[in-house]
Symmetry: D2
Subunit: 338 residues, 4 copies
């Protein structure tokens, strides 16, 4: 923390800040500059919140220096984390595809999609049994029946299951059905839910909230890790901006700084990011080029009849074309499609 | 819904869209224009999702016409709603103050604050027993003990309690302690939580999410109302933008359109909105002038020692000064401070 | 400037930064902390740009401490500035109305509006002769003929003229016609234009750019002041956000920090801010309550026939109603409508 | 245009809108729906602005259907445009690199950089003689002397010059020195400047404004094209959002919709987009993968001593490494590095 004093701050005011810092058990370092004094603070191991210093007379502003994440940060853990995700793993040198329909609609389409994906070498299927919908009148997912269908797909095809958990009430059921538990963008700061999955043995995929900074995304991961679950995958899925040419603004530029600050894998979701299946292939390739560790992709046997998100779902032929492009590019950049 | 065709769309493509609309049980109205054809769709009572029409050849874009909210909308309910909130009410012709510390820190400060507020005529106290904190290492609130303290404050002083519910696990306990259940900004689209409070007998205060549109805020209210609880208060508390002169950007300009589109009361939270107590009085007065139905205000006996959000909390003297200004302005605009 | 080192930075790397700072003629102050070292830099009077320090090995990030504005800042000039604007002044204890149509459409409507405004005690009229329009096919303003009409209105009624300058080519002409030169939001960082009006004897009204921070707005004012023109009025007119309930998001919460950081007057434009005349009165009153020094208001004799921005223009009756409300509120908050 | 009536609109109000549309010379098409009537309008060739219909009683909102761009739109010009840019061309099947320092600092560094680039096969050099700087106290560029240096570099090495024009005063001089005239992000809606370059024989590179929608970017191009200059290149360079992990948010997802709506080439500027040279290579590769037609890249012989933007400039070794990666990826996606 750095306390910046007003340029007209009196020596008495500066002294009072110095005293207050000492009173917190921290060490003040006054730096008299050309126009004003700043006071560096060292010795804080996190137990003290020095933000109330802003209320002292003569203080212009506080500037935070230390990053608040620890377990999610690369400084404490320089090696890239590899997350074990059912039949496969997510992490360096691989590019993991997690594909499937938005929702579990019925058994037939899930089994058919699982078989299609396995045939293409995809090892993880996404599909929601519990659906967070903006409207209470929209299809809310099949719930527990959806989980049963997913379990059957796993048993039949060996594909791993990535599915969303929306509340602690269904945590046990989702845990049993899922190889990876997904926390949706709207729940990224549902801290009760994060604390619950922190106690799970399943890896957790945390989607970035629509207005979340990188630091907040890492703090969501920190909640899971602080509770004892170190298997966390980050996911960029588009943020809210003024731009209206896509449904959300897919912020691929979070990937390099996420990799700099954290050791956790990060994947991208171009389906939700763009909201338009015509734009998905370009952004999927861009995510790979930008250094993402994988993709969350909506693939549906018949998008025009999808119960949700049809407009952003690839059909099988579009997926096959994209997969071929991804494979060529993966060879070029030296990673393995997974 | 309006389907806009590409300018080069063929008669065959237009015909296929018309057929598809009919196939959904809806009525198509082709409108041949100077450069392109648009196809209006009528007859949709909400059961059909025509968005998949976007996937048909020759379609340029879909434009949604109907608003998705019903119960929260003013068209279905032209009269302003009055919400009964413990010892008082929130709604037209009154300006309701909901004041208190960010967190329940201990019994002494809560009782003291409750007495102070009651003495000033304030009828509702806010204070969090469960605290959504960005960091797992920050103070997370006193939990059930905090609720016990709030209940004692209510018993002693008669003040009504507004407190946050973070998860369904604690719903019964919060319901018992609270006169109004608060849903925080981070949980505005925690649909499981919304469905739970929809079954409550307590009114619900829904804070706008940091990236929520007005429509999404109204749809969060719709979730509560669709479940049978019609007592909903909206709250603007600042959104995320590029602007960095305040902690969030308090969007007071949501108040007139919210009142146009909805019959629900809407209040403002200038404490979270600005994050700086020096800016709170100006924005509190502006909220009153803009037509808000009340305020959520952080007031603390000793902000410099607050366990959370001290920098945005008014002390008692600042609150008294603001209250005097609010009263003068309320007289001018013809509402009653409550 | 504060240089934050990585937690694993070596003593050698820290030493290299210290040396580099000295090599720039500045003074380094190493602050060894619990997890990392930070290096404060003092002695910079603005001539040196130490940002390239970010490129040195072991540097985690740079944090800027000093504000870049000088002349526009309150620290160098604690007293509020009063700007002389034709027949009146803009500044503390007054609330100045600048009203009129979006564009100069013809002589009749300008003379009529000027007379109407003068009758109501308004001393400044706004109207554009040069119009920045998103489309090249839209009405672009009457140009020099428009200025002639404005000059006639001033001669006949004594009203002061506020009108926009879009380029240096027309600077002389606008200067002659205008009592206050307006720089539009789209030109807030048109630095050539700012340098030109810095040489003018007319006061300058600088509208905040659609994505401008408060600091950038003050730096635009600084351009004008650094060139020798100290008469600058700031104007909040709405910024771009994801919110779609208003045309722009009118950020009234910039007013208190602008007044804290700067001595310049700041006014608000609720017409452009909301884009909807039904919302203008609420936001006009809120701007007054928030501490603004005045308003830029679109008023048109017949909004339904306006050549631009009719939907956000008040007609005369709506203006009269708003004026009455503003007067009552101004009495309450102790300022004079001007 | 679609006029959406309130659900309680009377037949009389609907009739009045229908009459008003006819009075504008347009054709109304009433569409009575389940909850409300909408009125489609056809026949508008652009001469009439029907937005004032919003002021009629019973109107809920207007929804615009037609896109305002014509010349820049793909519907009027299905073929991709190829822009002739000095010694090369920008357009389909090629990926054009425009590299060089932020500013022309002196002759030596420009000549050295030009030679370096030519040796690597780069055909266009970027460097600013006129620099838009946020602070009036920062280095503002060498001006006309800078243009002379650029001309010398072109004469010596044959490299094409891309340089920024900030105002009409210097238009002739920049035109003479430049093979491509750059319009900076801050001037994207400086319409006087756009009208001036519309009369130039040089192609124009228009950078997206920091808060510009795709439609506004295309309308900026439309200004240039409507004036007679059809050689326009679009450039994504990052927009303003709440995200703070990069200097701006590089919005690569604009590329597919830009290509859908327009025939103009679009390139990306990862240097300004990220503000951090460590992130530039990832985002450069992602831009290529996303379908961009080229890059604007800051390359400097000694970034640590750059007079501006050193932190985001690649040094020669970093550029060589990136070029090798770009070449491999270009082979994969089937375009030619240019």
């Amino acid at each position: 923390m750095l306390v910046v004093m007003e340029s007209h701050a009196t020596p008495h005011q500066i002294g009072a800040v110095v005293e207050a810092v000492r009173g917190m058990g921290l060490t003040p370092h006054p730096l008299p500059g050309a126009t004003r004094t700043a006071i560096g603070i060292t010795g804080n191991t996190g137990a003290v919140d020095p933000r109330a210093l802003a209320l002292l007379p003569g203080v212009f502003e506080l500037i935070r220096v230390t990053k608040p994440f620890k377990l999610a940060g690369r400084e404490m853990h320089p090696e890239d984390t590899v997350v074990l995700a059912g039949p496969t793993r997510i992490g360096p040198k691989t590019f993991t595809l997690i594909c499937g329909p938005c929702s579990v609609e019925n058994e037939e389409m899930i089994l058919r999609t699982a078989e299609f994906l396995v045939q293409r070498g995809v090892k993880l299927m996404r599909a929601g049994a519990f659906k967070p919908r903006t409207s209470p009148y929209s299809f809310q997912g099949l719930g527990l029946d959806g989980l049963t269908i997913l379990t059957k797909a796993r048993q039949r095809t060996g594909i791993g299951i990535v599915t969303e958990l929306m509340d602690t009430d269904n945590a046990d059921a989702v845990e049993q059905a899922a190889d990876v538990i997904q926390i949706g963008a709207r729940n990224m700061q549902n801290f009760s839910l994060l604390k619950r999955v922190a106690k799970s043995k399943r890896p957790v995929l945390v989607k970035r909230g629509m207005a979340a900074t990188l630091e907040e995304l890492l703090m969501a991961a920190e909640y899971v890790m602080a509770g004892g679950n170190y298997e966390v995958v980050l996911c960029e899925r588009g943020v809210r901006t003024f731009a209206d040419h896509t449904r959300n603004t897919l912020d691929l530029s979070i990937i390099p700084p996420a990799k700099r600050l954290s050791h956790l894998p990060i994947i991208a979701d171009p389906s939700h990011g763009t909201g338009n299946r015509d734009y998905v292939p370009s952004m999927a390739l861009a995510a790979l080029a930008a250094g993402a560790d994988g993709l969350l992709l909506e693939v549906h046997p018949d998008p025009a009849r999808a119960m949700s998100d049809g407009a952003q779902s690839l059909d099988y032929a579009m997926f096959d074309a994209l997969l071929a492009s991804l494979k060529r590019m993966a060879d070029t950049v030296g990673v393995q499609i997974n």
